[in-house]
Amino acid sequence: MSVATAFEIVLAAVVLGLGTWTIVVRETFSATVGFVAYGLLVALIWVRLDAVDVALTEAAIGGGLGGVLLLGAAARLWDADLMAMEAPGEVARASAAALSVLTAAALAGAVLLLPDPAPTLAPAAVANAWATSLSNPVTNVLMAFRAMDTMLEKVVLLLAIIGVWSLAPDSAWGGRPGPRHQADPRGVLAFLARLLPPVGIVVGIYILWTGADHPGGAFQGGAIVASMWLLAIMAGLADTPPVSRRSVRFILAAGPGLFLVVGLAGLLFGAAFLSYPPAQAKPLILGIEVAMTLTIAATLGLLLAGAPERSAEP
């Protein structure tokens, strides 16, 4: 057994151990912390699977922003955790365990019996890379070959934020999301919130730009920019904008809006919906990606901030 395989077995075992911990531990807060660690280690598995684009997304969104979201909810539901909840009985537990073991066993069997040679679309993606002049195949698939998925996913983000905002109480309708954060202005948090965002924003833009040819792209860059914004909000240096503000809504709609305009232009002047002329493919894709990065950063940040809780007037 090589060193690499031994490392992979240890990594898988630690990931499964953390997964078990998040399910069986008593306190919700501990489960949340376990899930954040789980998300970061799963990103390592993605690196081992040679899927660095997914690893970046998993670390930034699954582990990072998702962790903040779950930790925030766990802290606010601290009191609810203490209330006694009726746990399911022994029989229900046993049947749930049996069902889960059966599901896992079926999936494990499917993994062991996967067909050889494996069916793949990679040759087609590599062979058609010339059409966009981008050399990162994942960006090609996301932005050109299956651009419809990405555009609809932007619409899902928009629907999610509308859903979150519609949970606002009447008194805070159209107001600012989340509580106003206070932090010691000379503390570590406020210091980091001044120090990190300039660097983080540059890193986010770099990740967006390098996504054309190397691992990276709009999702990963947007998530990093969003986390910088959230850092400033949590340190009390910035406040969440009122959701009725016109500029906020414009940024939220910019990504899917531009995508739709380019798609319709392809339908009118080109071959099909969302088809780019090969000569202009790269500038068009980069333009959409810039708009998408802004939209993703704003949407992820506002999804984390939650439903409006304070009226717009201070």
Binding site: I23, A51, V101, A104, A122, A160
Partner: protein
């Protein structure tokens, strides 16, 4: 046994774990975490299948990778919506109990355990 198979089995176990937690944990927030665990197992299965379909020039089939990136973002937004619903429920009722107030003579409970 290759590393890809190890991760495939790990993904299958994560799906099973998440499924168990989703059914048996009475706390809604724990159900959300368990559901995310289940989802991450499904994503990993995509990664394992994509890794086997790698050709020269790509370490992993780009099509499942793109699907997973889209899936991670959609899972995050669904989680955010679920948590917003949960916080609002807690704010309005002061509790996060999911069970509706069942009267004793209600008959069979379709939700089961």
């Amino acid at each position: 046994m290759s590393g890809v198979t190890v991760f495939g089995l790990c993904a299958a176990a994560a799906v099973g774990l998440g499924f168990y937690g989703l059914i048996t944990n009475p706390q809604p927030l724990r159900k959300i975490i368990a559901f995310n665990l289940l989802g991450s197992g499904v994503f990993l299965l995509f990664g394992v299948v994509g890794r086997r379909g790698a050709v020269a020039g790509t370490g992993n089939d780009p099509v499942p990778q793109a699907l997973v990136i889209t899936g991670v973002v959609v899972a995050f937004s669904a989680t955010a919506l679920a948590i917003a619903l949960l916080l609002r429920l807690f704010q309005t009722t002061g509790s996060t109990k999911l069970s509706n107030r069942t009267s004793p003579g209600d008959g069979s409970d379709p939700a089961g355990g």
